[in-house]
């Protein structure tokens, strides 16, 4: 592989082809094909229940944990099929981090919440290095100043918005290649939201980022690519600016102008 080819390959991180996701007999995602860029932030938008979370969860095989969920089609990460039998799911999830729609900190101390991932993957040798990783992750998530004096207090005693930032810190602490964020700012105030968006700007380029959001302004602000989903279909996917200024599909236009939701 030449350097040229490697560069070309690395610019597309995830390739999904004809992906359908079923819950039992119910089809939640219908034959979606999409390329996720390494260097860009991709936003998934669409009305509630259209399958954004479902599709996002198929990128790190979190749908495996739902007993009757089934994924068809192919999804590759760096050209390797993540649903092939020789894919190590545990490693995949360390490489593809996730911030869930509902904040779900561990019922452990703030420090432990962030340190857990690096510890189980052996990413830090010794306490000092671990503390460094924790501080760096909390700083990036914009939470450090608020919690630096109470790292030993419970993560669940934080406010909803603080919990969500803690979950972001936990996800970036394992230094993933891709970060999937399912409405990371839905519980945050404008200031914390701005901080998350700053964080996304800062992380862009180093990580491939996919973010689900219901906030059109946010999608427009943070993303370079936008995918609009409706009833399990990918209706339109393209440059964010193009989608928001000149959507090709009538449904996209109706949605982003708020005519239905």
């Amino acid at each position: 592989m030449t350097t040229q080819a490697a560069d070309a390959a690395s610019s597309t991180k995830i390739v999904a082809r004809d992906v359908s996701v079923f819950y039992g007999a119910k089809k939640a995602i219908d034959a979606v094909s999409i390329d996720i860029d390494q260097d860009h932030v991709t936003a998934f938008i669409g009305p509630s229940g259209c399958g954004k979370s479902t599709f996002l969860r198929s990128f790190n095989r979190m749908n495996d944990t739902i007993p009757n969920a089934r994924v068809e089609g192919s999804i590759t990460l760096d050209g390797k099929d993540i649903y092939s039998s020789d894919m190590d799911v545990v490693q995949l999830r360390a490489r593809v981090g996730m911030v869930f729609q509902k904040p779900n900190p561990f019922p452990k101390s703030i420090f432990e919440n962030v340190a857990y991932g690096p510890r189980i993957h052996g990413l830090a040798s010794g306490r000092a290095e671990l503390e460094e990783v924790v501080e760096k992750s909390l700083r990036r998530a914009g939470l450090w100043e608020e919690v630096k004096d109470r790292l030993n207090e419970s993560g669940t005693a934080l406010s909803g918005g603080q919990q969500q930032r803690l979950c972001i810190a936990r996800a970036i602490a394992v230094d993933p290649e891709v970060i999937l964020m399912d409405e990371p700012a839905s519980a945050l105030d404008p200031i914390a939201t701005a901080r998350i968006e700053e964080l996304i700007h800062e992380l862009r380029g180093r990580y491939a980022i996919v973010i689900v959001t219901h906030n059109m302004q946010q999608a427009a602000r943070v993303s370079q690519r936008t995918a609009f989903f409706h009833l399990g279909h990918l209706v339109e996917y393209g440059d964010t600016r193009a989608i928001f200024t000149n959507p090709k599909q009538e449904r996209t236009k109706d949605y982003i102008t708020g005519r239905y939701g």
């Binding site: 490489r95 981090g97 991932g117 669940t156 928001f244």
Partner: protein
Amino acid sequence: MSELNASLVPQLPIVGVDAHEPVARKPTDWRTGSMQGRIRRRYAAERRFRLIGAGAVVLAAAFLAFLLVTMFANGLRGFTRTEVALDIDFPRSTLIVDQTAVQRFGEQGLAGADLQGVVAAAANARLGPGGAALLSDGAWVEVRRAILEDPAILSGVHRFELPAAAAIDVAAKGDGAADAEVQVARLRERGLLSTGFNGQFLTGADATDPTAVGIWGAFKGSLLTMLVTLALAFPIGVLSAVYLEEYAPRNRWTDIIEVSINNLAAVPSIIFGLLGLAIFLNVMNLPRSAPIVGGLTLALMTMPVIVIAGRNAIKAVPPSIRDAALGVGASPVQVVFHHVLPLALPGILTGTIIGMARALGETAPLLMIGMRAFISSPPEGLTQPATVLPVQIFLWSDEVSRGFVEKTSAAIIVLLVFLLAMNGIAIYLRNRFEKRW
């Protein structure tokens, strides 16, 4: 960004709900009769419920207090014994023992010495004809122990406080037969009777003479049996619960297993005794009456309780915690041991307490595997014949001799203390793990 603001995106997205005309609506009047009545009834229901709850608690507490008071009133006497003072003049007795030999050779120096006869003779001489019958059969053992401790007493007259015979003991505690009462009165007059702590009861095992019985044998039997039960039922129960909840696929087989386990928890305990008899004794040829067999049998009985409690506790751990751990790349085993089990442990321990408490009080299945034998020495190991506290209580309560009545109550106190200690440890552990975040 400004060009976007000027674009199609509105500043405040309109929520896509049809705007209905507001329906004209009368404000709720909370002061009407029916409204007030409803509020009053709500308060009354609240009060009623609280009263019923408090009543139930008071009733339960009263039963418990009654049980404890009667138990202790009867049982505490079992820990004391009546002692008769007896002077033995060794140089003038028929005892032919060399003091220096005892000093040098210990027990061997006393070999062949008829201490029993010496004590009987001294008793007949000092306490009047029939004096030997006033002393417990085992009284000479104490004399022997005293000599071994300090052989110097062989050189002169020594006063011993020896345990009284069962009839005298019962009479001295105010519950005896008429002739014994007379003898007690005579001994009291001469100032020879006293009450001492019954050390024998805490260190000995079963005996035919109620003044010589001890609870230590049964206590140790219970301890060993419970250790076997815990060591088997806890890990197997918890691991089964984890496997069934976290790993096993949901299909017909796991359904059958679930139903079987639930039924197993409801099977009468004597059936487990028969099972233990058939498998552990008849097929596997394990020793009869041994704590290992008792422990195995009780483990069979306790395990389903732990499995059920464990599964419920594991089920109660929110799935979002599992998602969170899986999401940072924890393996399923790490999810279980780092997150699920620590959160489920208090619930699992509660189930374990219940199961173990039931096992500790269990008599029927142990009767089936022969733990009801008369065992006069504490078990030395898991394979030695032993009995357990509830069986010992059952055996003593069956005795005709009156001396056993208070021993039975005393044994019940020991059983309750054992139970409380066990539960105390479990509750302490539970609270430690329950450090909720």
